[in-house]
């Protein structure tokens, strides 16, 4: 199990790209933190979640 935005999910083994696709976002408007460290955009497809990981997906919306 992994924790994504505070929710426990059965996503161990999935890549960051897979998870973003499940969330319905392409990755252009997000920042992804894995265990308190930023995941560089270039590493989304090669970063796989392990059991016990904590991931935060910050989705940005327009306006400022």
């Amino acid at each position: 199990m992994v924790k994504i935005n505070g929710e426990l999910l059965d996503k161990a083994g999935c890549s960051v790209t897979d998870i973003l696709a499940d969330m319905g976002t392409s990755g252009q408007r997000v920042a992804v933190e894995l265990n308190e460290s930023i995941v560089p955009k270039a590493e989304y497809s090669s970063t796989f979640l392990k059991d016990g990981d904590t991931m935060e997906v910050v989705r940005f919306v327009g306006g400022g």
């Binding site: 408007r29 930023i38 910050v58 940005f60 919306v61």
Partner: protein, 212 residues
């Protein structure tokens, strides 16, 4: 009335904020990226609080559509936002050390332009640009504190706008969902709430109060 001296203004700030906090504020250096509804209001709040050095960055000019929420005046229409806000900040806080850069930030120039400031405010309006700045700072400058804003369009409840500490040095303000592209535009009051969240997060970081 003549403009008060540096010492007179400092003493007035110290009286309100306390000696210890004012010393920290006067020694702080903050970058504000984007000078629209968020950035112009964040910069003014920080200047009023006596932050010693502000670095303001934007590439745009003041447009009539900005006047509903951004801290510009009708006679400033057509000016670069960096020049217009510089003038206003200088009137509010004449001894604040202000650096202005009229430039469009991108992944190549961000690390150089934001090198000096320990705290960076993301105050862009476009979602992809917000993500670009946040990712660039977190990837390349992990020692910086970053305070971003996302979700403040419309006239939804004030109480849905919050400050979250995403990681140790990355704070996010806003409701996270109210997208300007969904219809309702930006309204001064709610944009100011988000800007105030960001400015207060910055001041708390300066004060060494990192918890939210």
């Amino acid at each position: 009335m003549p403009i008060p001296t540096r010492e007179e203004i400092y003493a007035a700030l110290e009286e309100r904020h306390g000696r210890e906090l004012q010393k920290k504020l006067s020694e702080a250096s903050v970058a504000v990226c984007g000078l629209g509804g968020l950035g112009s209001n964040i910069a003014i709040a920080l200047a009023r609080a006596g932050v010693g050095r502000l670095h303001i960055l934007d590439f745009d000019i003041v447009d009539i559509s900005n006047l509903n929420r951004q801290q510009y005046f009708p006679e400033q229409l057509g000016m670069y936002k960096t020049d217009a806000l510089y003038d206003t900040l200088s009137r509010i806080a004449p001894y604040c050390d202000i650096q202005k850069d009229c430039v469009k930030l991108d992944e190549d120039n961000i690390p150089g332009l934001l090198e000096k400031e320990s705290i960076i405010c993301e105050a862009f309006d476009k979602a992809d640009q917000k993500a670009m700045l946040v990712n660039c700072v977190l990837e390349n400058m992990p020692e910086k504190y970053l305070v971003a804003g996302s979700g403040m369009a419309g006239i939804g409840s004030s109480n849905t706008i919050t400050t979250k500490r995403i990681t140790k040095r990355f704070y996010l303000c806003g409701d996270g969902t109210s997208d300007v592209e969904d219809g309702m535009g930006l309204v001064a009051s709610r944009v100011l709430i988000c800007a105030a969240h960001q400015a207060n997060a910055v001041i708390r970081i300066i004060a060494g109060k990192y918890e939210i």
